[in-house]
């Protein structure tokens, strides 16, 4: 099954994979080859990709995504999102610090615009931290 992760900044991933676990509005779903055609909404969270059938959980590849649209057909899985970061690019300590900064900004926000921005940052870094956490747990 082909997996494409498409953002405004370009195509992040375009490769053959065995299984993809996606966060959707109705909960997490796992997509395998031959899945029935489906169009659904992705919510901010972590995507996990299993490249080959026999791969163990510690070989899963993770991506932190913001919200988007998922399009599943027999042979191809397209994920259209605003932002996507590969788990490998995320440094846990940095994400943690960034999340704390964002939380602080949210608490200290004086107007609606700042609050909105802080909320977005909190979401974004919370997702990144989750991805870093998942990676660490499975690598051990």
């Amino acid at each position: 099954m082909k997996f494409q992760l498409i953002t405004l900044l370009g195509v992040k991933v375009d490769q053959d994979v065995y299984e993809v676990i996606l966060p959707t509005a109705d909960g997490e779903i796992a997509v395998f080859p031959g899945h029935e055609p489906l169009v659904s909404l992705a919510v901010p969270g972590a995507i996990a990709v299993r490249h080959n059938k026999g791969d163990a959980d510690d070989k899963l590849e993770y991506f932190a995504i913001s919200g988007g649209v998922i399009e599943v057909s027999q042979e191809i899985l397209k994920v259209l999102v605003d932002e996507a970061d590969s788990g490998e690019d995320i440094v846990e300590a940095e994400s943690k610090a960034a999340l704390e900064r964002a939380l602080k900004a949210r608490d200290n926000a004086t107007n609606q615009v700042e609050l909105e921005k802080a909320h977005q940052l909190v979401d974004r870094h919370a997702v990144r931290l989750k991805v870093a956490d998942l990676r660490r747990r499975h690598r051990r």
Binding site: Q4, I6, T7, L8, L9, G10, V11, T24, A25, D26, E36, P37, L38, V39, S40, L41, S66, G67, G68, V69, E71, V72, S73, Q74, K78, L80, D82, E83, K117, Q120
Partner: protein, 290 residues
């Protein structure tokens, strides 16, 4: 005639100006390439969103959706104008502002109310002096690759205005990069939303929509509008750098011509001074011999 000292000073100053314009030319060239690449990279996203929308529209889901509502009479309009922050890009700003002014005049004559979101300091400086429009937001110093959050702030504001019925249409004015010698100011309607009709694979036709077709439509439409605005911003940036590169190339060429002229004048002045001195010396010798 100016003295050789003065001419030397002027040559030096023109030379240092030339170094600056040359450097700006090179910087603009490399930034332009990057903006163009970023613009190309967003194409798959736009294509995928278009494909989904075409399909959704063929199922009739777009009817009645607020973002697709085409209103019979346009009574007020929101313009998003993209210009530069610092100018120095030849006719770039004046071209886009000319198009903007034309739109304002047209709105004025048709009795359409007008509001503006400006992007770039030059656009804001121009729009805020005009009585016919109200600047509701001004963005400046946007980076070359605007992040999702900045883009969303612009799109959200336009969408709120549109859905609340405060404006009946939203247009974006930007400079399209057509070829390296041709950059055209253009206007595109972003709301009510439209889409290009593309081929739809059979598989999507049978697809299930979760949670519902309407909710998917909402998300896709929003992303397509975002992609349109993103395209406008990036192609405008590429045009800006292209025109800045040309403007700086002309400036560098002019500086070269100026240096040549000044060098010639300086050499003439120096030779003139030498000839004069020689004449004085030989005059003196003649006088001694007598």
């Amino acid at each position: 005639m100016a003295s050789t000292q003065q001419l030397k000073g002027r040559i030096r100053s023109v030379k240092s100006t030339k170094q600056i314009t040359k450097a700006m030319q090179l910087v603009a060239a490399s930034k332009m390439r990057r903006a163009q690449e970023a613009e190309k990279a967003s194409a798959p996203y736009t294509r995928a969103a278009n494909e989904l929308l075409t399909h959704l529209a063929s199922q009739g889901v777009t009817k009645g959706h607020p973002l697709f509502e085409i209103r019979d009479q346009i009574r007020s309009r929101l313009l998003i104008v993209v210009a530069t922050d610092k100018g120095l890009a030849g006719a770039y700003d004046s071209n886009i502002l000319k198009l903007y002014a034309k739109q304002l005049i047209a709105d004025d004559q048709a009795g359409v109310k007008n509001e503006t979101i400006t992007i770039g300091r030059r656009a804001n400086r121009f729009a805020s002096r005009i009585k016919g429009t109200k600047v509701i937001a001004a963005y400046q110093d946007l980076p070359d690759d605007p992040a999702g959050s900045q883009l969303r702030a612009i799109v959200d504001m336009a969408r709120e205005k549109f859905e609340a019925g405060e404006v009946d249409a939203v247009d974006i004015l930007y400079t399209e990069f057509i070829t390296s010698v041709n950059q055209m100011p253009m206007m595109q309607r972003v709301m009510p939303a439209g889409y290009e009709i593309t081929e739809v694979t059979d598989e999507i036709k049978e697809a299930l929509f979760e949670p519902s077709a309407e909710e998917v439509l909402e998300a896709v439409t929003y992303r397509l509008i975002e992609a349109q605005v993103y395209h406008a911003l990036l192609t405008a940036r590429a045009s800006e750098y292209m025109m800045r590169m040309m403007a700086m190339k002309n400036a560098t060429d002019n500086a070269n011509d100026l240096i040549d002229d000044l060098t010639l004048a300086m050499n003439k002045a120096r030779q003139g001074a030498i000839t004069q001195e020689l004449a004085e010396i030989s005059g003196g010798v003649e006088a001694l011999n007598e």
